[in-house]
Homo-oligomer: 557 residues x 2
């Protein structure tokens, strides 16, 4: 029996979200049972060509799914819930969430045809639930979506306070302000490990309040004459409400543009939020209102090509147009990596003659993650024995560990995806490195990020490909001119690319002995090596194209 | 004769750098002759897969090269000089530059085997030169490289003040402070058009002084115990000197790591700069010094995979290693679009246990481009009739035009690559849109950015490719099993991908009439359409793979 399988031990194993911002998936083990917290996606970068969505590789827990007692979704952001519908069939367990999150989960499962299969347990706000050996208390925090929950996970070996994503908003506009007494009480009752959001640890100052954003935008609108467009994150329902209320106060009607925005607003209303939300105007009617009477709330604050704002800016929305003198407010942050598409969108808007207002110009956005002063407050409340920073790249997590230490937390441990950490009995320690990795959504398939299909596309991206098809008789004599398929090699030399390759085919074949030549595999390999070299010499790239040679051997009768 | 061909007119035509930050190439026309100012490269984004370097398409001036009297390089940054060696053969004209820039130009031309072909005219600092009908005065400004020049271009139709890249450094550490009297005099003598750097127009404050950076870094070093690594832009010779002087002051030897750094320092010394530069320690010797006695200056501040700092951080430099307790100073800005590679490098360094200091933590970098207060000073000096913002994306240029207007400049015109602007006789006006575009360096070839090779690679990146090779007789009957080459399609369904495709080949062939089938082109097209559809249905992607079908028709005897 491995060292780490004692029933009285408590373990933490992140499979995603530790060492990256995105695709959170955390596992806790107590009494031989596993509890999953969150199951999110992330967005791929150019290293995975043709891939948008990536997910944690769950094979470790799939192999132990009989021991997996449940999955808790802390809140409805994609990096916490987005992989559920894609991966659930692999581990099949009951799913727990609060009402708003559950509405979003149901929509996702319905789309995937899974709604009838997944056992869903709705937990009320501030509710408690027993999941196998884990006694889980949901506690409302504040963030940038309705119903962000921390979970206190009580086990026989100690208590974990898993924050999820959070901030301290002194005046939240949706949901309650964080209950300081309750947090203090959690600390009084004793917490072994605080597993805590590291996203904004480099920010010295606190994140700020949503109500200040609302006031500022409302005031800003009063001087504007043209149409107003506001882009924000569609799940930030409080912000959407802020924008709508600011519109109302300034005599403007509100129109939502973008599917995910409408979906989130509908979900929030269904969950009992947005009681004062103004009646909406339809896209097709909004154009008939005077310019100074309309405010559009749009998806696409990150410059996404297919989202509402980019489509409007490029003239691809039938009903909604931006014109000279209109104002576009980016009530959002620039997510690192999105600078170029956002810059492109700004240029489109400038070309139209619209005024652009971003968080660099005015107080139109607050973050949903804790800065140092908020982290410090959390440490004071919770007073954990161990601080486990998660939800960050390595540099964020290491920084939070340092910060926690500087404020007197004695034990800190920085996880990475795949580190199996024993939290108790102490001291906290990495006892095993589990093979993890990423899965990628490629068309309809979920494949490993290192799958042939992706590796092949990446190789072609740099070096192009080349396919040579040969037809030979039993002796290896050519029965037809070799067919050359050039995929992405520049054909720009003094000799045409194809001629160069055909010459290399013949040269390779001529060098073989009669016996070698009659062997179609030997012939294919000799030709492959030689044409690849010829193509490399032709293009002068570091590596030759991805080269395939097929040989059809025809027996003449 | 087109409207814009009058000899007494003065024209401005940017082919690169207007509507983007990078690949500057500007053309002026007077008395029927053209003058080129700068000839730079830019770096490609993921829209051009496998391409690093792009350049302006110069075909417009190639067609008029008998009228091109010369090329002035304002300074030696890659976005101003980098395309010279690649493109010069296309337009062949004399090249003018000041001594430091000329050393860099000679190195580049020598590498390209062009040194003996290109007529080079070295112009002294503050020198003047007559280039065809253009009387050109070089005037030293300050920037982030030695010898940044503005050029005053005097023509029969008026005077242009083309700033190049500049800032106002009150205490530059290399070269002279901007001569305010001379600038004032330029304004007194009359300027028709100010063609001006827009890069930092969104910065309200001035860029700041290099000497402050030097002082701060020097002070910072005094408390450090381990090895120090400083990454900066290799052409920023003043910064390299700042780092070296700070090292000297703190009793540390200096070692340069990275080819371009060594090259720039050597060029600066050859041009008479860096008189006090400390004697350098070789990479292979530096490791023998105590940690607190060495400071490495490295290339790779943008997280470039092959540059010195990343290679050291990944343990790929034989002689130089970073260890726990060392300090890495990024004496540089984050160029938008480079956030992800820089973040990756930071994570590598954090994993090692090095301390990272960036411009967010301390005053370790100043920009080389003018903020609003510096622009305002320039307008006061030059008092142009027309302001022409360049060196910016559209949003930067439009903002500078607004800013200039707000300060009383009556005429502003925002160019784009390819806009032929008549500056005189006024009013300034775009009179023609010239087809421009970009060239890409692909291996050894310079090809249009929209070349088949690049478009093909981009298509494969998203959709994969598929090549089907058929062998048939004169009637179209198959003589061999179809050969399927799958390039980047996920083979993850219940049926193998290849089986699905072969089935689609047969199905397509079976549907043809005997006559159609005997026609190899008809057969190929029918199979192509059907296998592409089958592949699309298999992967469930929006578009099927890039599909090629080759048919070898064998006549049986």
């Amino acid at each position: 029996m491995p060292q780490h399988d004692s029933k009285d031990d408590l373990y933490f194993l992140p499979l995603g979200g530790s060492g990256e911002i995105g695709m959170n998936l955390n596992l806790y083990k107590s009494q031989g049972k596993w509890l999953m917290v969150d199951c999110g996606i992330s967005f791929a970068d150019s290293y995975l060509p043709g891939i948008d969505i990536i997910m944690p590789n769950t094979s470790y827990i799939e192999q132990r799914r009989d021991k997996l007692v449940g999955l808790i979704i802390t809140h409805a952001h994609e990096d916490h819930v987005g992989a559920l519908a894609h991966l659930w069939r692999r581990f099949r367990c009951p799913v727990y969430a609060t009402p708003f999150t559950m509405i979003i989960i149901r929509l996702k499962l319905a789309e995937a045809g899974l709604l009838d299969e997944v056992p869903l347990i709705e937990v009320p706000l501030e509710g408690s639930v027993k999941v196998g050996p884990f006694a889980v208390d949901f506690m409302s925090l504040t963030h940038s979506i309705p119903e962000p929950n921390a979970v206190r996970i009580n086990t026989t070996a100690g208590t974990i306070f898993h924050t999820g994503d959070w901030k301290l908003d002194p005046e939240p506009l949706l949901g309650e302000k964080t209950n300081a007494e309750r947090m203090q009480q959690v600390g009084d009752e004793g917490v072994l490990a605080l597993v805590c959001d590291s996203t904004n640890v480099f920010n010295v100052e606190a994140s700020g309040s949503e109500s200040k954003v609302r006031d500022n935008i409302s005031q800003m609108l009063s001087s504007k004459k043209g149409k107003i467009f506001c882009a924000t994150f569609s799940s930030n329902v409080a912000r959407v409400d802020s924008l709508a209320q600011a519109a109302k106060k300034n005599g403007r009607e509100v129109c939502l543009v973008g599917r995910s925005l409408k979906r989130n607003v509908a979900a929030a209303i269904e969950a009992g939020y947005l009681q004062d939300f103004p009646k909406l105007v339809d896209e097709s009617d909004a154009g008939y209102l005077p310019n100074e009477k309309i405010l559009y709330i749009c998806t696409g604050c990150q410059g996404e090509a297919r989202a509402a704002l980019m489509r409007i800016a490029q003239g691809n929305n039938r009903d909604v147009t931006i014109s000279r003198g209109d104002t576009v407010i980016f009530s959002s942050k620039i997510i690192p990596g999105n600078e170029l598409p956002i810059g492109r969108l700004h240029n489109n808007l400038v070309e139209i003659g619209a005024e652009i207002i971003t968080e660099n110009d005015s107080f139109v956005h607050v973050s949903g993650h804790p800065g140092q002063s908020e982290l410090s407050q959390m440490y004071d409340w919770i007073r954990p024995e161990i601080l486990v920073p998660v939800h960050g790249e390595l540099r964020h997590m290491v920084r939070q560990a340092e910060f926690g230490k500087s404020l007197g937390i004695k034990n800190t441990i920085v996880p990475q995806n795949g580190t199996l950490i024993r939290l108790s009995p102490g001291p906290a320690k990495i006892i095993e490195y589990i093979d993890t990795g990423r899965l990628a959504l490629d068309g309809q398939f979920i494949i490993p990020a290192e799958d042939d299909a992706i590796v092949t596309r990446r190789r072609i991206l740099y070096n192009g490909a080349l396919v040579v098809s040969l037809v030979v008789d039993e002796t290896g004599e050519f029965l037809a001119t070799p067919e050359i398929t050039n995929l992405g090699n520049p054909d720009a030399g003094t000799t045409p690319f194809e001629d160069t390759i055909i010459e290399a085919v013949f040269a390779a074949a001529d060098k073989l002995t009669r016996k070698q030549r009659a062997d179609k595999n030997k012939l294919a390999e000799a030709v492959r090596v030689n044409v690849r070299k010829a193509a490399k010499n032709y293009t002068f790239k570091e590596t030759g194209p991805l080269t395939t040679v097929t040989v059809s051997q025809i027996t003449k009768d």
